[in-house]
Symmetry: D2
Subunit: 323 residues, 4 copies
């Protein structure tokens, strides 16, 4: 028996059900990041017991996932283009000496969602609205006048929890098209002996990225089929009152989507503009997963500051799990 | 009596005196960041008592310090140029609906040292050498083959200490050309009742940035005269075995420099390639300084991850002081 | 007696009066460029008598007009940022030899209207319409689906005529705020002994750019007060059936504009979307003006190809007058 | 019998034999472009008989040849990235009305040799020298201090001649690895009833690009195997005293190269730095070839201005054949 495909009416009902607009006042621009309270941050710091810092960031370079084969148009998302403004070869060649210092300098052209990144609350709209009911026209070519990523600059710190679904299921990687269920999330938490709390940063591993890295080929990763959150997880997320969620795939939610044709990324339609949920994508979870498996501890201090690029709807980040 | 200007012989002597090459083995690429040990990170986390996160990042936008009047050529350092790849106005206009999702996306063209940033160890050379004795030609147009900023991706966490020099001296801002001395640093630490320890991230306030922000004009900030570290602080830094140092000015060290003509940024000649010291510049310290003055506590957990841009010689960062 | 300021009703009447929509069929995307016929190009080639090529292009570099002081917001228009991908210093340093060739390579980040440039027909809208009545939403973040500059790739060749207004008036430069009249244009043509013909590329000198170059300072040039076309010249342009018009100022038309507050660049409201007139701005006319004054010949072959950047609403160009 | 592979000694001999250094004085920066005299330009204009303008430019967009599969590293050459600064959807959304004008604007990030382009004389070095004997260190991260493409801004006009080698050979396309010989060039000229003259811009068709366009796939085009000029054509080029040469392939010369391992693009080693020959690559020749076959006329006026980007070693161009 196949589950019926989600249609616009289902989305509309979900929008009504999960709407957090106004929950933090009419002027709020950061949504569920509000769930993390100072005492949660203090408690998160207490989780630092080994003094080990684990980066969840994929290096930004031409080997990133953009440009891989995909039926999904990339629409301008290229891999970062790093170029030098001055070099050590300039130094060696003597051409910098008139400056009185031998120094290199550089720049990058970087789509903000091309690699490990946060989806800001200006990233997705529900009809003509963005988070908290702001008009979607607040995000013009001049950038996001509301909900710009810079509003989160003091916010991306708290307790992190890893839910390693494939390890719990004793598989290497979840299959493409596998929708992670609420029960999977709860079961993983039990399996890892960890409890999800209000204000947590929940990081969910599918194993997909590591498979791609092992293969040395990103084909199919950007916008292709993937394991990921089932639509029903909206309920879990809402109930748990988590601050943010992240995963190791291109787009967090399961692909192919559970929807009728014409609706793309239905979970995003609700999480970002309706719930105000900040989301992390393309997180590298291999090292963290190994460490958690080793010590059996799946909670940690989490610090993943966005770059405060004014008016941005996303940001690259180097997320840190500190254990 | 005027102090004699530093010449190349002085620099050469300093290079011999402060050389840390080989201290962490011949293959090291992160220098003094090695000073921070796991136990220091555990201890730093214990400093989180209020659950307050304070960003030391200036927003990245067209109001940044680049493009201001300066006699120092900008050589390609522009303010970040943030452009949209898709917008809410596209969404409103209905042109995205064929995609089945209404989403905005964006990119940035950003010199890596145009705003709040880390100087990586590939940034400055001493003669033909970079940190740890690597050949400066390792930094070519293809980026830094050695000491790229991505090597620090697990490293920018530890104990932070703020030394608020103008507050200690009971002035609003240090004067341009004022060289912060070893005695200033020690005196500030005593004044703030804080002790500098091995592996610390030391953040030194001059007040210059806040003055510029108050004036609404960055003229003279990039490459202009500024208060900053005197050359003698190399000794203090070396002795304290700190992990990194940061300040609220364009270039950390005092300008005009204490050198004879033809030598620009002498302190940088030694800190980066000789000592292996990572440095933070253009840090916004106003909020942190106020908070420390309020609660009298000048130590905190510090997390300032660089973006792991492969081969980069610097990185924008959103540094967090967590108290 | 002051002329009354133009208001929206005046613009609306002008829009009705000068509307060329449909003149070249419902699918046209190049407007008045259609006026130039093959025989005009053949005739233009006959004007080449000295074999002299004169560039009307300002070099693209950090010394361009962007970034100058202006009350007009630059909205992302920066000077071109040219960066190297490989260099001769790399070559000298030996780091390229593994490739078997010593070669340099480079790139540029360039707003398409930051220097000498063509305004394409997707650049300005009248209410919700663009040239030929296309919906303005055809120009989304994905670029111009209609009237992209690439549609002109075979079109920017014909007879050029220089009208040197200050020389005719025996002044060095027209004053800021001076509106060039129809009579000025006719008088200049008579003075230069040249007749404007259907399909011509008319190039009008104000002298403003040369004054700025002489001063070594672009302050006030981008978006500031300037001499330029009076609103009445719409009539002259329409009657003459010219292919395109260009000038040496930032925005062709006189500034301050002749309009009531709230209407900016009224002449642009009509020329581009209503008449379908391609326009050249920031043309460097010093060398051409000198040459024409020398030989007394103000007509020439003109070739100023746009770069066929798909979906672009403007393009840098190196316009050539060939005499 | 196989021809022996070229080695460094062969290149060294060719360098001595074809060296044009000093031919146009010690300060020359444009090389063989000097061959075109004013009278040649006058004569070229006489070739305009139909008034037809044919662009040889490939549109610049994400469908360009970069990013295709290749064993040749792209080293930063991406397809152009065109992004909008303001849009018609902004206009429609009403967010621009505060400016008093509804206008779109845009920018591009473009490697200068990613599409139809000129190789400038700063592009390739012979050992430590560039054209005319300048030190290769003149091309640093600050750009080309000598032989920048902006030096050609008045120069890219003259007589163009198309040599359509596959049409002469009655094949659709030359095979990869086929080296076009001197005899091929002479035979094509005879076949087309055209004579190569001093100062000409010689455009040679292999058919490769059209094959790739027909296939809808650029794999193998950038840096892959290709038909192209044999090394021996250096002699032909030198003898004919042509201004410049262009073709429809990625790199003009035959690939695999005729050299021993370790020598890449040997023809480039000589043409650019030794002869001072400007070269066009990735020219789209389909329309021109058809037109020439139709009217039997293989000579035309040619205008292909480079963008005068200061210090650039190459430039995108929209080359025009005017018949």
């Amino acid at each position: 028996m196949t589950k019926p495909k989600l249609n616009r009416k289902d989305l509309s009902e979900a929008a009504e059900r999960f709407k957090n607009w106004g929950r933090w006042g009419p002027d709020d621009e950061i949504g569920t990041l509000n769930y993390t309270r100072p005492e949660d941050i203090v408690a998160a710091a207490q989780l630092v017991r080994k003094g080990k810092v684990i980066s969840l960031g994929l290096n930004y370079d031409e080997n990133g996932p953009q440009g891989a084969k995909s039926t999904y148009p990339s629409m301008g998302r290229i891999n970062p283009l790093h170029t030098m403004l001055r070099t050590g070869t300039d130094a060696y060649s003597g051409v910098l000496d008139k400056r009185g210092i031998r120094a290199a300098d550089d720049m990058v052209v970087i789509p903000l969602q091309c690699g490990t990144q946060w989806d800001g609350l200006g990233h997705v709209f529900y009809e003509d609205s963005m988070w908290n009911g702001y008009d979607c026209r607040e995000v013009s070519s001049a950038g996001a006048q509301k909900c710009g990523i810079e509003k989160t600059k003091n916010k991306m710190v708290g307790r992190g929890v890893l839910l390693d679904i494939p390890r719990m299921k004793n598989v290497e990687v979840l299959e493409n098209g596998y929708g992670i269920t609420n029960e999977d999330l709860d079961q993983a938490a039990r399996f890892h002996n960890v409890e999800i709390k209000r204000g947590d940063f929940v990081i969910v591993r599918t194993g997909q990225m590591e498979t791609k890295l092992k293969e040395g080929n990103w084909d199919g990763y950007p916008g292709g089929d993937a394991p990921g959150f089932a639509f029903e997880t909206l309920e879990w997320i809402q109930e748990k009152e988590i601050a943010a969620i992240a995963s190791d795939t291109w787009g967090c939610e399961v692909r192919p989507n559970e929807t009728e044709p014409g609706i793309n990324q239905p979970w995003h339609w609700i999480t970002i503009p309706i719930m105000g949920l900040t989301m992390g994508e393309i997180f590298y979870l291999g090292d963290l997963a190994d460490d958690c498996a080793d010590d059996g501890i799946y909670e940690f201090m989490f610090a993943a500051p966005a770059l405060p690029i004014t008016g941005a709807v996303g940001s690259p980040t180097n997320p840190l799990a500190i254990k």
